[in-house]
C-alpha cells in the first residue's frame, strides 16, 4: 500500500565568484570568500541570509526519475541583496531548471560591498537535488482478530546490508523514516507469533504502509504433520486504507480501564467526540445530533439489534471478547448503509493459541467467565465466554427487606463462542456464536394514578443470537476477498396491563467484499451487502401521538390498536469504491452505494466522497474532508399499516466534514473537525416523509495513545441539532441536542500493579418539555399537564461529574510447574465521586403546579474481582 508524501527538498548550493568557480559543496549553500585584487578597493561578496531550499520536482518523480542532480545558476544580486535575475547555466530538464530558478528567486543575501558600500554583484550558484527520502510504516496485528501486537520487532535491511529497526507501540504501529528509495527486506518478529519476512520497494518521497497479521506459533504437531507445520507461515498483507474521514478506534487497554464505565467497552464510546451523554439507564448512543436509532451496530460486520443490556448497564459483548472497537461518527464508507447517524463495529478477539487461558470476574453488576486456547494439535483455536447479571441476586432481597411492595427480577445473559483456524498462509476462517438475553418481570400492586396500565404485571424480554462465519483470503498481492455471513434471531416482547408487543425475526445477513489493486495507486473495492429477515409481529398498543403533539392521555384511556402481521424485510445493497493515492500524501476515496428496500419498494442511491492530504510529514499533519449521502429505510413500525403508514420512502442525510489531524508526538495526536448534516425526507408518524433538520458543530480530540504507563484524552464537541416535523411547523432543537460536551480522562499505571484513572465530564443539559397546570382526566382520575410548545423547548442545567477507578493486580503462580503466572485483580470504580446532584429531568406533583428536579445517579462505588490465567 503506497502513500506518497510530499517531497522534501534537499538543497545543495555553492556560491562562487563568477571568475572563480568552486566545486559544489555538500549540503548547505555557502558564500565564497571575497577575492581582492592587489591595490583594488576592498570588496566583499554576497553572503546567503535566507535559503528555503528547492523541492525535488514532481515532474521528475512522476517520470520515475530519482537521481541526484546539480543545476548551476548565475545570479544577479542587487545592492539590497535580492536576486534580480537567475539564469540556468546548463539546463538539465525534467523540471529541475524551473525548480532551481524558482528557489533562487526566494534567496536573500547580504549584498556585496565595495569599500563598505553595498553594490550589485553576479555570482554562480549551484543547486543540488537529491531525491526525497521514503518511509516504511505499518501495523502488526493478530490474524483474524486484528488485535494490535505491541513490542514486535521490525528489521528493515537494504541491499548493502545496512539495517534499521523499529518496535511496535501499544497500537501495533511502527514507522521508519528517512529511507533512501530502493528495495528493502522486512523481518517482523513477535513473542508467541510466527515471524514473517517480506520484500518492499519504496519510491522517493513515498510511504509504503502495510498491516501485517501474524499467526500464533503453531502448536506442537503430530510427527507426521510437523514438517508441514514448521514451514507454515500465515500472513495477509495489504489491508485497505481507511475509507472514512473520521475513524476512531479504541484499544483493549482503553476499553477496560476508562473510569465510570465499569470496564465496559461500548459504554466507553460515550466518551468520544461527537457522542452525547445519554440519559441515565438508557443504553443509547447519540452521535452528532442524530437519533439513537440512526446509528447502526455490527459485530465483525454483522448487524446486531442491541448493544446494551437493560438499563444500559453493560454491553452485550463483554470487553474481554473484544479486540477493537471502530467508531465512525459520520461520512462512513459505502460498505455501511441503512443508517444516517454513525457506525459502531465491534471486532471479536481472536482466541489465543499458545495455551489454555481462563478468566473470571464478578462485581455487583454481573459475573463473567472466559476460556480460550488451542484445540489440541488441530490448528484450531477457540474461545468461550458467558456472562450473567447479578442484579436479581441482591435487588430482590433488598426490595423485600425494605417492604418496597415491588417484585422485580431483572436478569440478563450474554454468551460468545469463537472457533478459528488459519487454513494456509493466505486464508483464515472463523465461526462465531454470540447472543444476548434480557428479561425483566415486575409486579406492582400499587397503581400509579397517572398511568394505571403501569401496574400489576409488567414484563419485557429482549435478545438476539447469531451464528456467524468469517472467511478472509489474500488471493494474490493485489486481490483480497473477505466474506461474512450470519443467521440468527431477534426477539422483543413487553407487556404492561393490556398492552403488549411481541416481535420475532430471523435475519440472514451477508457481506462479500473484493478488494482489487488495479494500479500502484488505485484500488477498487466492490461488495454485496444482503439482509433478509422474515418476521412476525403481534402488538396491542395505543396509537402514538403525532410528532410534537402532546399525548391524548394515559395509555389506559383509549382502546388500543391491534396488529398481527408477518412478512419479510429484504434489503439488498451493492457498493463500490475507488481508492486513489494519486500523489504524495494524498488519498481520495469515491464510492457509490445502492440500496433496495422491499418495504418501500424503492432504490436509494448514495454517492460518497472522502479526501485526505498530508501537508507535513514530521510531525504528520493531515487535512481531510468528505461529503456523502446516507439513507435509512423507515422502521418496520413506521411502515406497519396499523401503527404507521404506507407510501413512505427512506430518511435521508447529507454529511459534510472537514478537519485536520496532527501527530504532535509519537504518542500524542490532535484533531479538529467541523461537520454539517442536512436531514430531509424524515419519517414523521402520521405525516409521512415531511421532517427536516440540520446538525452542525465541531469536534476536538487531543489524545495520548496508550503506552506502558498512560493513556488519556480530552474530547470536546460543540453541536447544534434541530428538527422541523413538517413545513410550517416550528423549528425546534432536537430532544437529544447537547451544545457542549467535554470529557477529560486518563489512566496511569503507578507500578506494583496499581493503576489509577479519572474521568471528568461536563456537558450541557438535555432538552425537556416543561409542564404546567392543565386538565383533569376523569376517566382515569389524573391530571394531565399543559405541556409547553413546541416540545423540548427548555434545557436542563449543566451536567458535571468526576469518576475514579483504581485497579490493583497481583501476579502469582498457580502451581510449581506453571511457567506463566496468573493474575488476580481488584478494582473500584466510583461514579460521581463528589456526588453532584445533576438534574436528569423534573418531576411534577399531582396537578403539575410544582416541580422538583429528578437527579442523575448519585455516587456509586462498584467493586470487582477478576482472575486470569
Amino acid at each position: 500500500m503506497r502513500a506518497p508524501r510530499p517531497s522534501l527538498a534537499v538543497v545543495a548550493g555553492v556560491v562562487a565568484l563568477a571568475a572563480v568557480a568552486r566545486p559544489a559543496s555538500a549540503q548547505l549553500p555557502q558564500a565564497a570568500p571575497p577575492v581582492a585584487a592587489p591595490q583594488a578597493p576592498v570588496v566583499t561578496m554576497p553572503v546567503v541570509k535566507r535559503n528555503d531550499g528547492a523541492v525535488y520536482p514532481k515532474q521528475a518523480l512522476d517520470a520515475g526519475f530519482h537521481d541526484a542532480v546539480e543545476v548551476p545558476l548565475v545570479l544577479t544580486i542587487d545592492a539590497t541583496g535580492v536576486v534580480a535575475r537567475a539564469t540556468v547555466e546548463a539546463p538539465v530538464g525534467r523540471g529541475f531548471d524551473e525548480a532551481a530558478v524558482a528557489a533562487a528567486q526566494r534567496l536573500l543575501f547580504e549584498p556585496a560591498t565595495r569599500d563598505g558600500k553595498p553594490v550589485a554583484a553576479k555570482i554562480r550558484f549551484v543547486y543540488r537535488f537529491t531525491p526525497p527520502a521514503a518511509v516504511l510504516a505499518g501495523r502488526v496485528v493478530t490474524l483474524a482478530g486484528d488485535r494490535p501486537i505491541a513490542g514486535a520487532t521490525i528489521i528493515v535491511r537494504d541491499a548493502s546490508g545496512w539495517t534499521h529497526t523499529a518496535t511496535t507501540g501499544a497500537d501495533g504501529a511502527w514507522r521508519i523514516e528517512g529511507l533512501p528509495a530502493g528495495a528493502y527486506h522486512v523481518t517482523l518478529a513477535a513473542a508467541g507469533k510466527a515471524p514473517h519476512e517480506a520484500d518492499e520497494t519504496v519510491q522517493p518521497g513515498e510511504e509504503e504502509s502495510a498491516v501485517d497479521r501474524l499467526a500464533p506459533v503453531a502448536a506442537p504437531a503430530a510427527p507426521a504433520a510437523k514438517k508441514e507445520e514448521e514451514v507454515e507461515e500465515v500472513q495477509i498483507r495489504g489491508e485497505k486504507p481507511p475509507r472514512e474521514v473520521t475513524k476512531r478506534t479504541l484499544e483493549q487497554r482503553e476499553l477496560a480501564r476508562i473510569p465510570g464505565t465499569n470496564g465496559d467497552a461500548l459504554r466507553s464510546l460515550q466518551n468520544l467526540p461527537g457522542v452525547a451523554r445519554p440519559p441515565a439507564f438508557l443504553g443509547l448512543l447519540i452521535v452528532r445530533g442524530s437519533a439513537p436509532q440512526d446509528t447502526q451496530y455490527f459485530v465483525d460486520g454483522t448487524p446486531v439489534p442491541l448493544v446494551y443490556h437493560f438499563g444500559g448497564l453493560s454491553s452485550v459483548v463483554p470487553t474481554e471478547m473484544i479486540s477493537k472497537l471502530d467508531f465512525y461518527p459520520g461520512n462512513f464508507s459505502t460498505q455501511y448503509g441503512r443508517a444516517m447517524g454513525g457506525i459502531v463495529d465491534v471486532g471479536l478477539a481472536d482466541p489465543k493459541g499458545d495455551r489454555i487461558h481462563a478468566m473470571a470476574q464478578a462485581d455487583f453488576i454481573d459475573s463473567r467467565v472466559l476460556v480460550q486456547g488451542p484445540v489440541g494439535d488441530t490448528g484450531w483455536r477457540f474461545s468461550v465466554g458467558a456472562r450473567r447479571s447479578n442484579l436479581d441476586l441482591w435487588l430482590s432481597p433488598v426490595l423485600q427487606a425494605t417492604n418496597a411492595g415491588v417484585t422485580v427480577t431483572p436478569v440478563y445473559y450474554d454468551y460468545q463462542a469463537v472457533l478459528e483456524r488459519d487454513l494456509d498462509k493466505h486464508q483464515s476462517v472463523r465461526f462465531a456464536f454470540f447472543g444476548s438475553d434480557d428479561k425483566l418481570d415486575v409486579f406492582l400492586p400499587t397503581a400509579d394514578a397517572s398511568e394505571p396500565d403501569l401496574a400489576g404485571t409488567i414484563g419485557s424480554h429482549t435478545g438476539f443470537w447469531r451464528i456467524q462465519g468469517l472467511y478472509r483470503n489474500r488471493v494474490s498481492d493485489t486481490t483480497e476477498l473477505r466474506a461474512v455471513a450470519a443467521v440468527g434471531q431477534d426477539y422483543l416482547e413487553f407487556q404492561a396491563g393490556d398492552l403488549f408487543f411481541k416481535l420475532s425475526d430471523t435475519p440472514v445477513t451477508s457481506r462479500i467484499e473484493l478488494a482489487q489493486k488495479i494500479e500502484r495507486n488505485l484500488t477498487m473495492n466492490v461488495g454485496v451487502d444482503m439482509m433478509y429477515a422474515p418476521y412476525t409481529v403481534s402488538a396491542q398498543l395505543p396509537a402514538l401521538p403525532k410528532p410534537g403533539q402532546p399525548p391524548a392521555g394515559p395509555f389506559s384511556q383509549a382502546p388500543p390498536l391491534q396488529a398481527n402481521t408477518s412478512g419479510a424485510m429484504y434489503e439488498p445493497a451493492f457498493y463500490g469504491e475507488l481508492e486513489a493515492t494519486p500523489w504524495a500524501g494524498g488519498r481520495i476515496v469515491s464510492g457509490l452505494r445502492v440500496d433496495y428496500t422491499k418495504d418501500t419498494a424503492a432504490w436509494d442511491v448514495s454517492p460518497r466522497f472522502v479526501a485526505r492530504q498530508d501537508v507535513t510529514r514530521d510531525p504528520r499533519t493531515t487535512i481531510k474532508g468528505g461529503a456523502g449521502l446516507f439513507t435509512q429505510p423507515p422502521s418496520p413500525q413506521e411502515t406497519n399499516p396499523v401503527f404507521g403508514m404506507t407510501g413512505l420512502t427512506s430518511n435521508r442525510a447529507t454529511h459534510y466534514d472537514v478537519g485536520v489531524e496532527r501527530e504532535i508526538t509519537t504518542q500524542i495526536d490532535a484533531s479538529i473537525e467541523g461537520f454539517y448534516k442536512k436531514l430531509d425526507n424524515l419519517v414523521e408518524a402520521g405525516l409521512g416523509n415531511t421532517g427536516t433538520g440540520q446538525v452542525y458543530g465541531a469536534e476536538v480530540l487531543l489524545r495520548y495513545k496508550p503506552d506502558e504507563r498512560f493513556f488519556g484524552w480530552l474530547a470536546y464537541t460543540l453541536s447544534h441539532s434541530e428538527r422541523q416535523t413538517e413545513p410550517g411547523a416550528p423549528v425546534r432543537l432536537f430532544q437529544y441536542d447537547e451544545t457542549h460536551i467535554l470529557t477529560v480522562l486518563g489512566s496511569y499505571r503507578l507500578g506494583r500493579g496499581w493503576e489509577f484513572g479519572m474521568r471528568y465530564r461536563l456537558s450541557s443539559g438535555w432538552m425537556y418539555t416543561p409542564d404546567t397546570y392543565g386538565f383533569y382526566d376523569e376517566n382515569i382520575g389524573t391530571y394531565l399537564p399543559l405541556a409547553s410548545y413546541p416540545a423540548y423547548g427548555s434545557r436542563l442545567p449543566l451536567f458535571h461529574a468526576l469518576d475514579v477507578r483504581i485497579d490493583k493486580t497481583w501476579q502469582f503462580h498457580w502451581c510449581a510447574r506453571c511457567e506463566t503466572p496468573g493474575k488476580l485483580s481488584l478494582y473500584l470504580d466510583v461514579l460521581n465521586v463528589y456526588n453532584q446532584g445533576n438534574v436528569d429531568g423534573y418531576s411534577y406533583d399531582y396537578n403539575n403546579t410544582h416541580a422538583a428536579p429528578a437527579n442523575d445517579l448519585p455516587i456509586i462505588p462498584s467493586f470487582g474481582i477478576r482472575m486470569e490465567y
Partner: protein, 368 residues
C-alpha cells in the same frame, strides 16, 4: 429490529420516571382545594342514540371560600375529535363559537359568546345523547378491533364564574386552554380554585361495559355496608354519622410513632365486576380481562397510597382486602370528614363510595 428497540428503554424510563417522584409534594389524596375526584357515566360504553348521564364527584376542600364552588358543564359535546385527542375539541368549540352553533350532541344551552362570561349549565349531573352516527362518523383507524365512536364532555369545577380566555393567535400550542375561572372582581383564579375536567364516553354498536360494583368497604377486616344511590347505582354511600348505625369512626392519633394509628381499609369489588375484555388479548392470544384499580381521597387524615390495584388484566384479583387495602391514619385532632374510594376499570367504568368519618378526641371515653 434496531429501529424498533428504542421503544423498550423509553417504556422503562417512563416507568422509572413515574415511580421515583421526589418527596415534598402535596399529598394528592388530601383534598384541600377545589377538586374533581371522579366522573361516571351510567353507560360507560353507550350505543348510538343512547342518552348518557354523567355524574361528577367534586369537592371544595378550601378552608376559606370567598365564593362557593360550582360545577359547570360545557354544553357542546365534542364528537370524534381528531386523533381522539381531548385538546382537539377546542378547535370544535372555536368553530362552534364562530358559527354561533348551540348544537353538539345533546347540548341544551347557548354557545359561548367569545370575550366574556357566558351562561353554562351547572350541577353534578349532565345528560347528552350519543349521536346516532357516532360510530360511523368516527374515522376508520386501522388496527381497531371494533369500530367505535367517541364523545367528550367537559366540565369545570370553579369557585367563581367561567369566562372565555382569548388565545394569542401566535400561540400554536394545541393545548391552549380557551376558558378560565374568574372571581366576582374579574380576577382569573388559579389551580386551587378551579379544575377543567373531561370525560370520554365511547360508543359501540354492540359492546357494553358495566361500572364496577362495590360490595362493601373493608375496615380492618370488618365490613362497612354501602348503599347505591337511587338512580345512580354506581355511586355508593356508607352510613352517615347521623344514621342509626353510625359512620366510620376512630380516635384521633395521639402517637407520633409511624404505624400506631394505621387502619387498613379499602373497597371490596366482586369478581363479577372483573369483566372479560372481549376485544383484547394477551401476548399469547388469550382474551384479557379488565384492569380495576381504586383511587383514594380524604378530607381528613392521611392515606398511604393514592391508588391500589384490585384486578390485573391477566392474573385477576390481586388478593382479598388484606392484600389490596390501603392504610389510613387518623389525624391528631378530632373532626368529621369524608373518605372517597373511586373504583375505575380501564374501559371507562367508574364507581365510587363516599365514606363519612368521625374522628374522636384522643383518649375520649366513648368513640362510636
Amino acid at each position: 429490529m434496531r429501529r424498533l428497540l428504542p421503544a423498550l428503554p423509553l417504556l422503562a424510563f417512563a416507568w422509572a420516571s413515574t415511580s421515583c417522584a421526589p418527596s415534598g409534594f402535596a399529598d394528592p389524596t388530601q383534598i384541600e382545594t377545589v377538586r374533581v375526584l371522579a366522573s361516571s357515566a351510567d353507560k360507560p360504553y353507550a350505543a348510538p342514540g343512547d342518552t348518557v348521564t354523567l355524574d361528577v364527584l367534586a369537592f371544595d376542600g378550601r378552608t376559606t371560600k370567598p365564593e362557593p364552588m360550582k360545577v359547570y358543564w360545557l354544553p357542546l359535546v365534542c364528537e370524534n375529535p381528531t386523533d381522539d385527542a381531548y385538546y382537539a375539541c377546542f378547535q370544535q368549540f372555536a368553530r362552534a363559537a364562530q358559527a354561533g352553533d348551540a348544537g353538539g350532541a345533546g347540548g341544551d344551552a347557548g354557545a359561548p359568546a367569545p370575550g366574556g362570561p357566558f351562561a353554562l349549565p351547572t350541577g353534578t349531573s349532565f345528560s347528552f345523547t350519543m349521536p346516532k352516527d357516532a360510530v360511523t362518523a368516527h374515522p376508520a383507524v386501522p388496527g381497531t378491533p371494533v369500530p367505535y365512536g367517541l364523545a367528550i364532555v367537559f366540565n369545570i369545577a370553579c369557585a367563581g364564574h367561567v369566562q372565555l380566555v382569548p388565545i394569542d393567535p401566535s400561540n400554536q400550542n394545541p393545548q391552549a386552554v380557551p376558558v378560565g375561572c374568574f372571581d366576582a372582581a374579574g380576577n382569573q383564579l388559579g389551580p386551587d380554585d378551579w379544575v377543567l375536567g373531561f370525560t370520554r364516553v365511547y360508543a359501540y354498536d354492540k359492546v357494553r361495559n358495566a361500572n364496577p360494583v362495590i360490595s362493601y368497604v373493608d375496615v380492618a377486616g370488618k365490613h362497612l355496608p354501602v348503599a347505591p344511590q337511587p338512580g345512580a347505582p354506581q355511586i355508593y354511600t356508607a352510613p352517615a354519622c347521623s344514621s342509626p348505625q353510625g359512620c366510620l369512626s376512630m380516635p384521633a392519633c395521639a402517637s407520633s410513632k409511624s404505624g400506631d394509628c394505621d387502619v387498613k381499609l379499602g373497597p371490596s369489588v366482586p369478581d363479577s365486576s372483573w369483566e372479560v375484555n372481549p376485544e383484547q388479548t394477551d401476548v399469547n392470544g388469550k382474551p384479557l380481562h379488565e384492569e380495576i384499580w381504586v383511587d383514594y381521597y380524604t378530607s381528613l387524615g392521611q392515606v398511604q397510597d393514592e391508588a391500589r390495584l384490585l384486578y390485573d388484566t391477566t392474573s385477576g384479583s390481586v388478593g382479598g382486602p388484606d392484600k389490596t387495602d390501603n392504610t389510613f391514619a387518623a389525624p391528631d385532632t378530632a373532626g368529621t370528614g369524608d373518605l372517597w374510594m373511586v373504583v375505575h376499570d380501564n374501559r371507562g367504568g367508574t364507581s365510587w363510595v363516599t365514606v363519612p368519618m368521625q374522628v374522636c378526641a384522643a383518649g375520649a371515653a366513648h368513640c362510636p
